[in-house]
Symmetry: C2
Subunit: 208 residues, 2 copies
């Protein structure tokens, strides 16, 4: 996301370039450690252009935030539509989280690790954003369908994906020394065990 010297960038292209640069800086240094001048320098555009397109620094962060959340939600929505089966959906969601983190760590860092309330005071907490609501929806439907064991819904939702999300944190913090994909099957299994309805206990044979 560094400026290519000589190439003139304008309009929507410039806007995108600024967003990309902002993501890189915000996700690595943090919002407050990044000045508009830093972004200006790295993107190779002028301060005036940034303010023309976004108005102020907070609005730039908000535009970025909305953009990333919407993309994440689109991915989750697709997973939800591909199957009605709760197990398949949960596996798909965890796989999606792992893949997105591996391919776009900066996106995940910004969505998952930033404390948005500190620089977007009017924004509701991330947990209540679209992507997280969609995960909860998956759990609610699974429980209603009897695929999940009856329990407190917030517990089911957090236990289904909380382990995966914590593993993403380890990965993003550089604590994990192996690729995320190594852990995918185990994580899917473990998450499912926590919430799945008991397998029928074969009482028939014992009664016979």
């Amino acid at each position: 996301m560094t400026a290519s010297p000589g190439k003139v960038v304008r309009g929507e292209t410039l806007r995108k370039l600024v967003l990309d640069t902002a993501l890189e800086r915000f996700s690595t240094d943090g919002y407050f450690n990044t000045s508009i001048h830093d972004i200006r320098r790295q993107a190779g555009v002028s301060i005036g252009s940034i303010y023309h397109h976004f108005g102020n620094k907070e609005a730039l962060a908000k535009a970025l935030y909305d953009d990333l959340l919407q993309r994440m939600d689109a991915g989750l929505q697709q997973v939800m539509e591909e199957s009605q089966d709760c197990r398949t959906r949960c596996d798909g969601i965890i796989a999606f989280l792992f893949e997105t983190t591996a391919q776009a760590p900066q996106t995940m860092r910004f969505v998952l690790e930033s404390r948005h309330r500190e620089f977007l005071p009017d924004e509701p907490p991330v947990c209540s954003s679209q992507p997280f609501q969609r995960m909860r929806e998956c759990i609610e439907q699974g429980m209603a369908a009897g695929e999940l064991r009856p329990m407190e819904v917030p517990v089911a939702a957090t236990v289904a994906f909380g382990g995966a999300i914590r593993l993403l944190h380890l990965y993003l913090d550089g604590v994990l020394d192996r690729p995320l994909s190594d852990f995918l099957p185990d994580m899917q299994e473990a998450a499912w065990r926590a919430i799945a309805m008991d397998p029928p206990r074969n009482t028939t044979r014992e009664n016979a």
Copy 2:
């Protein structure tokens, strides 16, 4: 943690007062939204005193961070010593996390929600701090003892406590409308199901 007017505060008492005030401001507004003047004003002390005791703003945050981590670790260590049984330990850790969050939400907010790397650049990530290592230790021992099913250790560790930690986030963000304690038993059960060794399958009866 507001200054009691008229009361003269000095020495170690002043130091503690500043730490308490800093915790309150950092955990609610964030490190970067809190100026030394904010802390000075709320604590009712002078800027000079703060710089005398801590040197600079970052060192103040570091002192606070170390203090809180150490207290948390002491609590976890106690849980670990009270029993050698992995199930009891896991339940105890989750209970400890819930109780601490309910009683000292600001502490948990600062330890769990802050992005320390943004203002303590030389600090290792939280995930590798003492308290988190202790949780991992619990899991490693449980697996070695055969109480937990064989699986990738990072998966077991994150799935054992990741659900609980995510629920803490919901609570701290005000998304949960009921007290944490309502969810404790369900969370302990669910976490354990994810990692526990399969109950012996009663093959004896079938073989007989």
